[in-house]
């Protein structure tokens, strides 16, 4: 098997390059169609996410796989760029390194946030599009199915995905769950309509939140967000009244002064009658006066508090990295040992066929020359030829098996050349 990958990722390319090389889901299919037009005897997969664009090509025969330069040229052409524009920002791996890289990507060890779960579904999607583009891609099946299995193994055997690492996911997925049993019967108030509010709302909706109210100084932005998440817009001037009845408040405004002061919260507190409230103040500078958090049944968390949790979770994930990396190394070695075993199996079969063919020719010639040989004697001669062939082939085949199981594979090529065997 021959596998090659070229691409860019957040490790070595800035966002401008990544944007120029990225493909939408709709653009991947025409890309692959064009590739098959140019390289009909190889297989290809294109993985494009916001953090990476990776172009994989595979072929059984090394002469049939496009070279690294050909792949870069093809990629550049599809994006309307010159090779010089992107060459310095691209990485390239082949064979074992390429497999190891794909396993790392699928298991989320190569992600910007190690352990994020989204990448595996993106790998699966890229594989799915590759299948739809070409129904005869045996090598791709072998490689990508292994990658998906390895990613699952890493997920099952390590805690690399265990802790959340983004502020909104920790706030809603961890913290809110420690206070509320469910979100579908809670009143959720979003103060501000920026990017952080949108990101947090995704988790609120995933967590079951239904009664969502959004308030913002600029009502049109709140309206947009409310439409997107099926929420309701509240007037900014009613903030106090909304706070008095909310269970969960997410505040993300860009205000330079606290929008909820201690005095303002006095009124809210009276109306609430000590009903628990979780306030996630994700704004910088803060939207809620700090002493509000000291009141009974008020759980006020700021961005700093949540970032500390995220940082600890990130460290906890990174501590799992060596365990996960060990699995990747094991699996990569096992994958190639398997590939070599299959490859040596076909070489051994060819070698045996070749020897049997020579043996049969010589045996026929001998039988035609000698006369008066009984059936029993014929059988003995044939068995003698068989033993001779087996004795000659046994040492090289044993050496070949040892060599492939040790992972070198150099003898296989030598044997193919020596006995003039095909791939």
């Amino acid at each position: 098997m021959n596998l090659q990958v070229v691409g860019c990722s957040h490790h070595q390319s800035n966002v401008a390059i990544r944007e120029r090389l990225s493909f939408t889901e709709q653009q991947v299919r025409p890309f692959l169609d064009l590739f098959y037009h140019q390289f009909p005897k190889s297989e290809a997969v294109l993985l494009s996410t916001c953090n990476r664009t990776e172009f994989y090509a595979a072929a059984e025969n090394p002469e049939l796989i496009p070279s690294k330069q050909e792949m870069i040229k093809f990629l550049a052409q599809q994006r309307g760029l010159s090779i010089a524009d992107i060459n310095a920002d691209l990485f390239a791996h082949s064979n074992q390194k390429a497999i190891e890289h794909l396993f790392n990507v699928a298991a989320s060890l190569d992600s910007m946030v190690v352990g994020e779960a989204q990448i595996l579904s993106q790998v699966k999607k890229a594989y799915q599009i590759a299948i739809e583009s070409n129904d005869s891609i045996p090598l791709t099946h072998q490689v990508f199915q292994s990658a998906i299995r390895v990613a699952r193994r890493v997920s099952n055997e390590t805690d690399i995905h265990a802790n959340r690492v983004s502020v909104p996911s920790v706030a809603i997925g961890v913290l809110a769950k420690q206070i509320f049993e469910r979100l579908d019967n809670k009143k959720i108030l979003i103060v501000g309509a920026g990017e952080m509010a949108e990101e947090t709302l995704k988790y609120v909706v995933t967590g079951g939140g239904k009664d969502i109210r959004i308030t913002n100084r600029t009502e049109s932005k709140a309206r947009e967000l409310a439409k997107q998440f099926n929420g309701r817009v509240c007037e900014w001037t009613n903030l106090k009244e909304e706070l008095a009845t909310a269970d969960l408040v997410v505040s993300t405004t860009g205000a330079t002064e606290p929008i909820v002061t201690s005095e303002m919260f006095d009124h809210v507190e009276k109306v609430r009658e000590q009903k628990p409230i979780l306030i996630l103040d994700l704004a910088i500078p803060r939207d809620f006066a700090a002493d509000i958090g000291e009141r009974l049944n008020v759980y006020l968390y700021t961005l700093d508090d949540l970032q500390k949790e995220c940082e600890l979770n990130r460290e906890s994930r990174e501590s799992e990295y060596p365990k996960a990396a060990k699995i990747i190394t094991q699996e990569t070695n096992a994958f190639f040992a398997d590939v070599r075993r299959r490859s040596s199996g076909s070489t051994i079969a060819q070698l045996r066929q070749q020897a049997d063919k020579a043996k049969n020719v010589e045996l026929d010639r001998l039988m035609n020359r000698i006369e008066g040989v009984s059936e029993k004697q014929k059988k003995e001669i044939e068995q003698s030829f068989n033993r001779l062939v087996n004795k000659i082939l046994h040492p090289p085949l044993k050496s070949l098996r040892d060599d492939t199981s040790n992972g070198s594979g150099s003898l296989l090529d030598a044997l193919k050349k020596l006995f003039q065997l095909g791939d």
């Binding site: 420690q178 509320f180 049993e181 000590q274 009903k275 628990p276 049944n297 759980y299 949790e309």
Partner: protein, 309 residues
Amino acid sequence: MDWLYKISITCFAASYLVVFALEISRVFFDVALRKYVRVGFAAAGLVAHTVYLLWQGKLELDATGIWLSSWFGWCLAAAWVLAAAYLWISIRQAKSVIGLFLLPVIIVLIAVAVQFGPERSFSVGRAKTIWNMVHGSALLLGTAVVALGFVFGNVYLLQASRLKRKARSPKHFKLPSLEWLQKSCESSLIISTVLLAGGLVSGIALNLINQAHGNDGFARGTIAWSDPVVWSSGVLFFWLLASAIFNACYRPARHGRKVAYLVMASFLFLVLELGIVWWVGHAVSKSSDKTLTSVTFNDPESLLTEKRS
């Protein structure tokens, strides 16, 4: 059925101790298989506990006409209710470590049962009426529910204090949500009030019936209205009733730590009440009664042995 004889308190007490040890180990490290082992041991313990109680109950039924006619059986039955609650919670709230707080109560109840021993049975005369059955059962369940409420209250305060301090939850130390704990505290307060009301009313009815029977034998079970057990039971009931009314009418009491404080105070009242009951020997046979002397599980014949002191 011979195997029934072989089940002893040690069987289920040891199971609960193993479960408790497994609960403690959850705080320090994570093992995937432990959840099944823990639930398995808890279920096995509960089965052994059930069989023991049924067999013990049968023996006492044969001898006295009612089940669990001793403090020994009563404590074991209360422990059984809590163990069943533990099993239910560990399936419903698999990730929470509430067992760390609940199992010690179960183990203490079993220890108290062993301390009493099966010899201290209730007086036969008091035990035989339906009113006594209702009285004993309601008090038993009420006690178990108050103890459960105490555990929920403690866990609530721990979780609330941790969240207020913004302390990080240890990796394997997950507690239920405040909302769940608050609802559980409220439910235990209401249920225990109803059960203890049932216990108190049936106790009063029992006493009135005994008084009405005069000198025909049943009167031996009559308790004076000034008896410390009667007024302490009354105080406990009125405390629970007041707490439940306070909880229902005063909105802030329904939220947060107030309900936790209420159930914890109820538990302290209950401990006080049980202490008085034990101290004055309420419901335990007096020297003039015909009582069971030695209700040992492995020696059912001894149940029928009567002592006249």
